[in-house]
Assembly symmetry: C4
Homo-oligomer: 229 residues x 4
Amino acid sequence: MYEELKKRVYDANMLLPKSGLVKFTWGNVSERDENTGYIAIKPSGVKYEDLKPEDIVVLDLQGNIIEGNLNPSSDTKTHIEIYRAFPDIKGIVHTHSTYATSWAQSGRNIPSFGTTHADYMYGEIPCLRNLSKEEIDEDYEKNTGKLIVEFMKDKEVTKIPAVLLKNHGPFTWGKDAFDAVHNAVVLEEVAKMAMFTESINKEAKETPKEVQDKHYYRKHGANAYYGQK
Amino acid sequence: MYEELKKRVYDANMLLPKSGLVKFTWGNVSERDENTGYIAIKPSGVKYEDLKPEDIVVLDLQGNIIEGNLNPSSDTKTHIEIYRAFPDIKGIVHTHSTYATSWAQSGRNIPSFGTTHADYMYGEIPCLRNLSKEEIDEDYEKNTGKLIVEFMKDKEVTKIPAVLLKNHGPFTWGKDAFDAVHNAVVLEEVAKMAMFTESINKEAKETPKEVQDKHYYRKHGANAYYGQK
Amino acid sequence: MYEELKKRVYDANMLLPKSGLVKFTWGNVSERDENTGYIAIKPSGVKYEDLKPEDIVVLDLQGNIIEGNLNPSSDTKTHIEIYRAFPDIKGIVHTHSTYATSWAQSGRNIPSFGTTHADYMYGEIPCLRNLSKEEIDEDYEKNTGKLIVEFMKDKEVTKIPAVLLKNHGPFTWGKDAFDAVHNAVVLEEVAKMAMFTESINKEAKETPKEVQDKHYYRKHGANAYYGQK
Amino acid sequence: MYEELKKRVYDANMLLPKSGLVKFTWGNVSERDENTGYIAIKPSGVKYEDLKPEDIVVLDLQGNIIEGNLNPSSDTKTHIEIYRAFPDIKGIVHTHSTYATSWAQSGRNIPSFGTTHADYMYGEIPCLRNLSKEEIDEDYEKNTGKLIVEFMKDKEVTKIPAVLLKNHGPFTWGKDAFDAVHNAVVLEEVAKMAMFTESINKEAKETPKEVQDKHYYRKHGANAYYGQK
């Protein structure tokens, strides 16, 4: 019944290995269907070379499986918490992409060092704390989602489309699954260049605010003039 | 009417993703036509996989569109300022290539560490300052061009075919669009090796002037003897 | 007689260059046959592009050649020592993969910086000492195996599926040849991200134990829930 | 007349871009013919994608062109000086490969950090000094060859098959053109891992001499036992 949604989510998932963001099964993409409110997500532990559109699992936002014979991604509860809190988020991606994950492992926010970053993301990319033993024992994946929601709840999800989970890796989101994948690719390149920037100059400074504003708002919002109408 | 020019600019643009210098829409190439004085440039925000020769936009040096249905690159005014100031420049490239952009983000000039650099570029590659808030508000892209022109006005554009814009990325130029792309590839490799050089030896010294001279002038000028006649 | 075993070991060996883990002849994979107890291993110094399934050498655990016309890998005695000590190990891989080898050359254990590591390997990846001149002169390859066995003898080989040999490179193992190759790929990615993590933050801390436990045990053991049943 | 020699030198040259060691025209391979004593070398400034076997230039050891319509590599005199001094050298390669060149630019010898290095090269890879202004003005390429010869004259060319030229890049050699290319690939990988090794541990120590000896001599000399007979 959800052929189109499953095909989209399959296609978006297949972009992850194609873009060099995942090895083996290390990543997953989901999307929310506007009409039903259901989400579709990669099944757990299935290799990308074996993945087929019919393997994609459809669930409601209480986590009930609506369609699909496989277990959904072990990170499904994290996705669901985010979807429940932010109606504007329609696609979510989790990867262990090399450079973004290295920043997550370092425990540092990614500074906004250039216009490549400012074109898509407003300000630094936050690295969120580890969960406590109690939060892990209670419900690791759900509480990971709650941590992200708690952090983002007073921020604009379109302006900060990515967070890092300490000692783990990135989550990105967007207006659909493909937009979330696009942000995952941007994040990885931004993370790589930020590491190189500090390698070249340990005292490198963030982009002046007026330059960040110029680049972000020439691409986003009412006065954007980048691209075609 | 400008089929050949547009095809050349299309081909030169397509070399950017092929050479690994751009992701998504992050880069543009233009060329100046010797006869008409018009320039042709990539349209704004069009993905390279979708780009076609007929999408290339032809403009005069006042920025009027002569031919083309799409918006030209958002960086068009920067290109135009450079073409107006330097008749010897016939091709211009802007990218966010990883290593050159990391140097731009670091705010440092790229030292001339070896003969790979000296074979094409005479002396260090300058990193120009950020624009002020006033310059950004007045006309960001035009004033970016003016900054480059101001810096280069008492220098030889063939000897310094590249600059970095702080917190942004590189501009390169050349005697046509393909030469400008060639310089963009050289710059990226030189930027990569310069970062590695300092990683190996923080106190690394620039190439002695007599070696730089030897390499630059065996490839360029009246006494060049590299290559075939 | 051992066609299937040799074909498996051939296939597993060919994954090494395909995964970017080896250049030239720098690596070898072996597997133990459950029924006979024999092992099959790559021949010494044969280039991967020339390797054929019939070149694979079958030996018993005393090092006698059971089938094959070529010399077995010069590291065969190391493999044999490991197989003799640990019945659970059914596949072994040795490579000079770039990042894992760089850690081995640095003489340091690889810290457990993230869940990519914790998903497969419990705690840091140990870097073992150099052999002494006496051990080298007596029997270099056999004593290399003994060093690994000595280190692992009071540990669980499934929880630490990799070691580094100082100034040399990694050995990984698994429940068959393909599992051992999988661990070699994981190790290389983990080694790369660990180097980047410390480049970003020299004071980076290891993953808290409760997060390591959560990730390792959601993938392994009685309460694992990752993947499909 | 020298079809076979030219074909071999063409094939060896084409391995450079295939192995990722050169961009554009940045590299050249030559080989000495045992019977005539002539050498064959890449023509100067010809792009690899345009190179054909018939473009290869044959010269005698006085630098006279025996066969060929193109100018030989601008580095030909360097090759000739080396061939004249060392009868055992039958193939020579020059590249600007990224990591070896970065070491050359850093002005440091490459330490012998591991068995990958010790398997092929005995001890550290030397970085030779810059030429003086007088040496450059007199004959840059010939004096570059003399510098290499002077350094190597009391050493075994099979045990040190590579040197770095400060602020320039590597030269490697071997028993024929393909062996010299093989050494160029080994050098690049060794240079990369040495940089990473020091990034991981600034105080990393060279491989103990007894391990270097073991690895070098299990592959080379009368008691070698690596590979097939």
